[in-house]
């Protein structure tokens, strides 16, 4: 089962605006890409078109691992606003 299919099992209500913001000038100089490896949802990837780091906030599991792993401080991460984001039905 692909990771996208796993995330599709979850109940998620997405806000229009992303709760994760990246500082591209920081990402530009990053070599390790900790976010790509740490995110359990595999939501971070380098955009082939622009070469910029992109995050699919819509599948976010709200664990905060990317915020902790990005020691360069590119990830500003907040909880999605009330009523948005993942709704764990089991937890």
């Amino acid at each position: 089962m692909k990771i996208e299919e796993k995330i599709a099992c979850n109940a998620i209500k997405n806000d229009k605006e992303s709760h994760i913001k990246l500082k591209q000038d920081v990402c530009k100089n990053c070599r390790e890409r900790f976010c790509v490896y740490a995110c359990p949802g595999h939501l971070y990837s380098l955009s082939e078109e622009t070469g910029e780091m992109a995050v699919e906030y819509a599948g976010c599991l709200e664990c905060g691992t990317c915020k902790i792993a990005c020691i360069y401080g590119s990830v500003s991460w907040e909880y999605p606003g009330g009523e948005y984001g993942v709704r764990y039905r089991y937890g």
Binding site: M1, I3, K6, I7, C9, N10, E32, R33, F34, V36, Y37, A38, C39, P40, G41, H42, L61, E62, C63, G64, T65, K67, I68, A69, I71, E78, Y79, P80, G81, G82, E83, G85, V86, R87, Y88, R89, Y90, G91
Partner: protein, 431 residues
């Protein structure tokens, strides 16, 4: 600044927040709990198992009617090498009799039930309300800001989870460090109740817990878990964030979960199940050295927000600490409100009571457990040793077999009877 003040506002409807709200409401205080999710429990993830014995004195009237999943009667530990494994099982008849020691649990169900209990006592639980910031007055916390509204309170209890934005805003904890946290990934698989009982050899209502250690984390600090719920299985892995960042070659966390699931030792349990949920959460692994400052004028920090979580090797605890710290925080809050003194000096009482309780006593006893548990040899050399040992004992081939003792000693010599092994053995004294 709002002129009317509530007695207490609680940020976060997890176990610490709900326990605090329950006790405050029970004491007749006006209490408002703000939860960012659709309902308490909807943003929470547990492995999950809760040990109820430490909680009987903290929530005596309700803990036994909680909607747990199954009481655990069997513990299994599976040590995985790359292509083999050793499994240990421990069970005792006493665990099959009431009062039960531990239960498996799913948080969406449990926390929602708990929030109903809070409301029965007269506490207000407001879902879909994210707290954005703290309100300050004369250098002390005096309420919260949520969705453009200002809510004044004599005392605020921050129970907003492992990432606690409130503790950070109050200057009570440092920014989160990778070395102090682990990532947990969990899948919930649906299976028929009877099928679970037959597959695990359980009677009706009984549950099993299985820990996994070894090759699944590819040399990184961490392990795996499997818990039987009523009609689902909770399967997951835990891996240190720092270890994940420094792993060479790099590996995506989600692949660790896939590889783990593909192992026959895991696949046998979840066969035929349907994936219902894919969840992730961070866990504090720093032990007592990772806890935040616990109070400031007008505010207390409880549960995961304070860093109350403990990896004791074969038992991992957090939920009992959350409930107990929530109850203790509420007790201090009630006394502070009655005295009309929410100063930092008075609220120091919170830490004192925590130190007298199992929360900080257990965390103190296991102060050094992380140093022992993050030894990479635990995840590589020792699983290989066990595996090789059983391999020589069980295997029969065309060549004449050496004596068992001789064979076992040769394996031990290869892996553990050396200077490193001695040092590891001595380090166990710290556990």
């Amino acid at each position: 600044m709002p002129e009317e003040k509530l007695d207490a506002v609680i940020v976060g409807g997890g176990l610490a927040g709900l326990a605090a709200a329950y006790r405050l409401a029970e004491a007749g205080k006006q209490v408002l709990l703000l939860e960012r999710g659709d309902a308490p429990g909807s943003k929470n993830v547990t492995g999950g198992r809760i040990y109820v014995e430490p909680l009987r004195t903290f929530l005596p009237s309700i803990i036994d009617e909680a909607p747990f999943e199954r009481h655990v009667v069997r513990e299994m530990i599976t040590v995985l090498d790359e292509e083999s494994s050793v499994q240990l099982e421990y069970a005792q008849d006493g665990w099959r009799k009431q009062p039960y020691m531990s239960y498996t649990v799913l948080r969406a169900r449990f926390d929602q039930w708990f929030s109903e209990k809070v409301m029965e006592k007269g506490g207000f639980v407001i879902p879909n309300r994210k707290v954005d910031d703290l309100l300050w007055e004369d250098g002390r916390v005096a309420g919260v800001k949520a969705g453009g509204e200002q809510i004044g309170a004599h005392i605020v209890i921050a129970a907003d989870g492992a990432l606690s934005f409130m503790a950070e805003k109050a200057g009570l904890r440092e920014p989160l460090k990778p070395a102090n946290y682990a990532l947990a990934i969990k899948e919930v698989h649906k299976l028929d109740e009877k099928c679970i009982e037959e597959r695990f050899g359980l009677d009706v209502g009984e549950g099993a817990a299985n820990l996994f250690v070894g090759a699944l984390t590819k040399g990184m600090f961490g392990g795996g878990f499997l818990y039987t719920n009523q009609d689902t299985l909770s399967l997951g892995i835990v891996v240190g964030i720092d270890a994940l960042m420094h792993k060479q070659p790099q590996i995506e966390a989600y692949r660790l979960m896939d590889d783990f699931k593909a192992r026959p030792e895991v696949a046998r349990w979840i066969r035929g199940g349907e994936l219902k949920e894919y969840a992730a959460h961070v866990i504090s692994e720093a032990g007592i050295s990772g806890i935040s400052k616990l109070y400031t004028a007008g505010m207390l920090v409880a549960g995961d927000a304070a860093g109350f979580a403990l990896n004791m090797g074969i038992t991992v605890r957090g939920m009992e600490f959350a409930i107990a710290s929530g109850v203790i925080a509420a007790g201090v809050a009630v006394d502070a409100l009655n005295k009309g003194d929410v100063s930092k000096e008075y609220l120091a009482e919170y830490e004192k009571r925590l130190r007298a309780s199992f929360v900080l006593r257990d965390m103190e006893t296991f102060r050094h457990s992380k140093e022992v548990l993050e030894n990479p040899r635990l995840f590589t050399v020792y699983p290989k040793f066990l595996s090789s040992l059983f391999n020589v004992l069980f295997s029969v081939s065309g060549t004449p077999k050496k004596g068992l003792y001789k064979s076992a000693r040769a394996v031990a010599k290869e892996y553990i009877l050396n200077w490193e092994g001695m040092k590891d053995f001595w380090s166990l004294r710290k556990l």
